[in-house]
Amino acid sequence: MAAKRVGKRTIRLQNPPFIIATGTIVGPQEGKGPLADDFDVVSPNYTLGQKTPEQAEMRFLEEAAKIALEKAGLQPHQVDYMLAGDLLNQIISSSFAARQLGIPYLGLYGACSTFAEGVGLGSMIIDGGFADRVLVAVSSHYQTAERQYRYPIELNIQRKLTASYTVTGSGVAVLSNQGQGTRVTLVTVGVVLDLGIKDPNDMGSAMAPAAADTLFWHFSDTGTRPEDYDMILTGDLGRVGRVMLLEVLKDKGIILEDNYNDCGLMIYSDKQKVGAGGSGCACSAVVTLGHILRRMQNGELSKVLVASTGALLSPLSYQQGESVPGIAHAIVLER
């Protein structure tokens, strides 16, 4: 077996890369949430001065990347690769932002799991000796996601209790083989799982089995148990998916306790009318890179497992009656 593999699905990085800098920027709704102070920039509007929401999302990603590069004290040409993804067709936010930055670019799509996918892949590239520094970027935007997956913005549609609310913003991490602080130590890549949930208004339930599967294999591959982590996070299962995850894991003999939370539930307060919680690529990215990393730097947390979750559907696939496949990738952050 390849030297760095452990168990069935997990990779143990030999020289775990450091997260040397982060950039997080969010929109107005997230700015009203409990984590607002942890983000670098809270935009008071959805547009950032752009004409269309799609252009705005691209700007969100570009801004977050600039903040991260500035904090790292790097120029774009000093970064070897940019790995980025978002939710829009042909991942235009990422590619168009990459057009501005001029860093060798690899586009990713893992729906809302793209954050962990990017950090995992970036870490492998660095640990494999193919790069010194990699920039990982993801974005999502409430208005662009509504337009693509649901309905026009001003339409009179009532949000279902199971439906999530797409996080507006972007999270960027600069990974490097040198530095200090938080490192990416383990990566567990998930399989696509589909247990036949067809309701596009209930992504949480569609993704929960994939999250449970990835977490199960992570614990089994590494021989760890939930209590070995200071915190276990899922990306955007929300209120409903969280319940399903706990049930499915219980069936597999794993009980998640108080150290488990979901980024989609952390980013908004209960008073905000956001359905089942936050979702989108930016959800797990800004919560992890803004909030969790700050707490790791403070020494409050030293070992955190993040499993970003994604629903791999398209508007066409559900109109054609297909069910919603889910995926989850897990990364472990340690300092």
Partner: protein, 152 residues
């Protein structure tokens, strides 16, 4: 092989039962009452408009079309002002079922797709949601009329 497929199906069925059991139930009573009140009030506004036309000497049949046009204007304006999506979030079908909601679907789509251009964006997608209502309404009406002609 057949066994494996059976097992997959059993797993799916079990999970779908779990989801059906555990997922939050809609607040049916609250939603019904709010939809009733808001929808009812919109109809009262419609009745005011209708009564004004009737007071000006129209029969109820004659007043129907202009009343709908006025309600459509009200719905369009409320959408432009950004009020109607809040009303929809609050009242669900109470905002969607009245003709003001029909008008909202047209204006919301027009506003949203304006950014993809006036012809291929706004023009092409204005009837994104209202289109099916027209298509099936018109087809039904023509069939109903044809049956009347054949049977009378």
């Amino acid at each position: 092989m057949a066994n494996k497929l059976d097992e997959e199906q059993r797993k799916k069925d079990a999970y779908q039962r779990l989801v059906a059991r555990k997922k939050p139930k809609p607040r049916g009573f609250r939603n019904f009452v709010v939809a009733f009140i808001v929808g009812g009030l919109i109809c009262v506004v419609g009745q005011v408009v209708l009564s004004i036309f009737i007071a000006r000497g129209m029969s109820q049949d004659q007043a129907a079309a202009p009343t709908l046009a006025v309600m459509i204007f009200i719905g369009a304006l409320a959408t432009g002002l950004g009020i109607y999506d809040y009303l929809g979030e609050f009242a669900g079908a109470g905002a969607a079922v009245p003709i003001t909601g029909f008008s909202n679907t047209i204006v919301a789509a027009a506003m949203d797709f304006k950014r993809e251009g006036y012809v291929l964006g706004m023009g092409a997608k204005m009837f994104l949601i209202a289109g099916p209502v027209l298509v099936f309404g018109i087809i039904t009406a023509i069939f109903v009329g044809a049956i009347h002609l054949l049977t009378s």
